[in-house]
Amino acid sequence: MPILTTRIVRLLSTVWLLGAVASFPLPGEAANIVALKGADVDVYDEALDGFKSVASRAQISEYDMEGDLQRGKRFLARLKSGPKPDLILAIGIWALQVVVEEIRDIPVVFAMVLNPSTVIGQEARNITGASMNVPIEQQIALLKKASPQARRIGVIYDPSKTGFLIKQAERIASDQGVRLLPKAIASPKDSFAALDAMQGEIDALWILPDVTVLAPESVQYMLLFSFRNRIPLLGLSENQARMGALFGLSFGSGRDIGIQAGEIANEILSGRRADEIPFTTARRLRLTVNLKTAGKLGLQVPKEILDRADVVIR
């Protein structure tokens, strides 16, 4: 009996090993990757180029959903009925959405997705990737560097959209010796009262990548709040800096995010499981500094920040 048990265990181990070997490309064999693009957007193409530059040995087939979720689902249904690829690259939030719904047994790497945890559930163990989120540490550090006396950073957020970010940010802010003053809102119109309640209570204001917060009227009120109270506002883009935010900090480029995704894909194709690899945030960033705003706020932007800025609005 023990001999039989041992043989069964050995047999099962062999089958598992063969299965494991068969499921990954052999050395010298090109991995078969399907790249699913949510839409035909320049920045997605850049991400795909970046991915290809890293996963250069892979055989990559591209498919464009053209912004149509149903089209993406139909494509994945066809994909599931045929030979399975070694990995799926989901570029953009729409591609990730359909992949999360449809794919359970193929490793998935996403790229160019903001707040991916809002799309990917806890149970999805086959998905990881490179988000386009800017590391919170760097955002808070930037505000501190620009305004060293800043101790309280105000932020408005919709708990259903970015509650998870606030939890992370509170911890990181505390580590950096500043206090986060978050105000929850449920709709854009709540932002006026939330901001008014922060008057005199905060030293800097931070715009989160939160759809509720990014309603034009909310952003405009945050800009107004920044000028009225002469406190710096950290925005999410060059566009917001041009509108009057002191800083705009965003991911560096689609290509950079694609490279990060490619590196993750290479790890998975080398045998690591997707759930062992955490999502990444943007490694390279693009900083815009609005010196006109700095002048109005009475702030002297340190040379160190200006030196690293990609765009300076004078």
């Binding site: 839409a39 957007v41 320049d42 912004g67 939030i93 729409w94 903001l114 990548p209 034009p216 883009s237």
Partner: protein, 415 residues
Amino acid sequence: MKVRLRAVLNLSLILLLAGSVRPADAADLKDAIRNLYGGQGILLEPLPLPFPSQESRFQASSLQGLDQLNSQLTSAIGVPAFNSSVTGFTFDIERGVPVRTTESLGTLLTERATTLGARKLDLTFTYTRVNFTKLQGKDLKDLELVFLRGDANGNGIRDTSGPFSFESDVIRARLSVDLTEDIFALIATYGLTAEWDVGFVVPVTHIRLIAKAHAAIFDQFGNPGGTKVGDIPIHRFGPNSSRPDASGGGDETGLGDIVLRTKYNFLRHYDDLVPDMAFLVELKLPTGDEERLLGTGGTNVTGLLVASRTYARWFTPHVNLGYEIDTKDTRQNAVRYALGFDARLLPELTLAAGIIGRAKPDGSGTGDHIVDLSLGVKWNPIKSLILRTNVQIPLDKNSGLRADFIPTVGIEYIF
């Protein structure tokens, strides 16, 4: 990429074919009206001796009149405006989502500030039919030219009484002009970057100009035949004169004036109030044979400021304002403007309407300010294929050489 390469190769082939079309008749269509009476104006029958010869008395004025009409007609023939669609997505960095820019499929003859998108290629093939019907408000099928004769007695005036009252005789020439253009245009636009497009328009034109004239002599009171001495008319047509009935013209087909274009969208999504803005530069090259009426013979440079803004993701008003410099004839320099909108009525159907104007500050008097209404639709039945149709309706038919309406149909594909 292979598809784009194939498209470019096909494009080259079309250009090659367009360039190889040769005229059936080498005669200058441009001078068809000027040469109606043989290029020397109207010559009359010599009078029998002892009367002094009157055969060339109308030559100068007829030449001048025909030449003027010829210039009015030929200088007003131009290349209609063209543009490409705006379709696809842009990326909203703050929200991390693509934003559909196909709130509408774009305008038809005017311009929006938004560009095509990086590495996108738009190929459009259009057919436009222009059947000119009016010149300065007059029916092209029923034009009248009046030729005056020269002073006979040297007193500096045309006598209306006395022995030299025949100086007031006139030749009335009734002309019927059939002038049509069929323009097949290949329009290519390529997005170098997300904000910068380059492109060209290659028109292949078939033009038909047939002019028929009938000249008759009248005296100052409108009596046919003109002034007579006894039974002998002083001015008359005969076997040795120009024939009173003349016709000329023909057809020509060939490459028209190629237009090179570039558009830079320097302001996009700035804020809720400021519109998207772009600058467009067009260079029209004299590739069409001017003598065959296939081109204007000059190089034109146009700078156009374009502003547009999309509201509620479906309605986009736009304004174009610019100046066109004609390096060959500065009198043709023109202020160009357009005001209009395009509206996405259904996901796959866009309506476009606009007023298109062109004003020549130092114009020659013919078509110095023309204003058209443009109405059209674009239909996107599948994927990146767009079918387009448009009609251009002159709002003022009393200015310049005009058609009752100018229909255009086209097919467009974005790679």
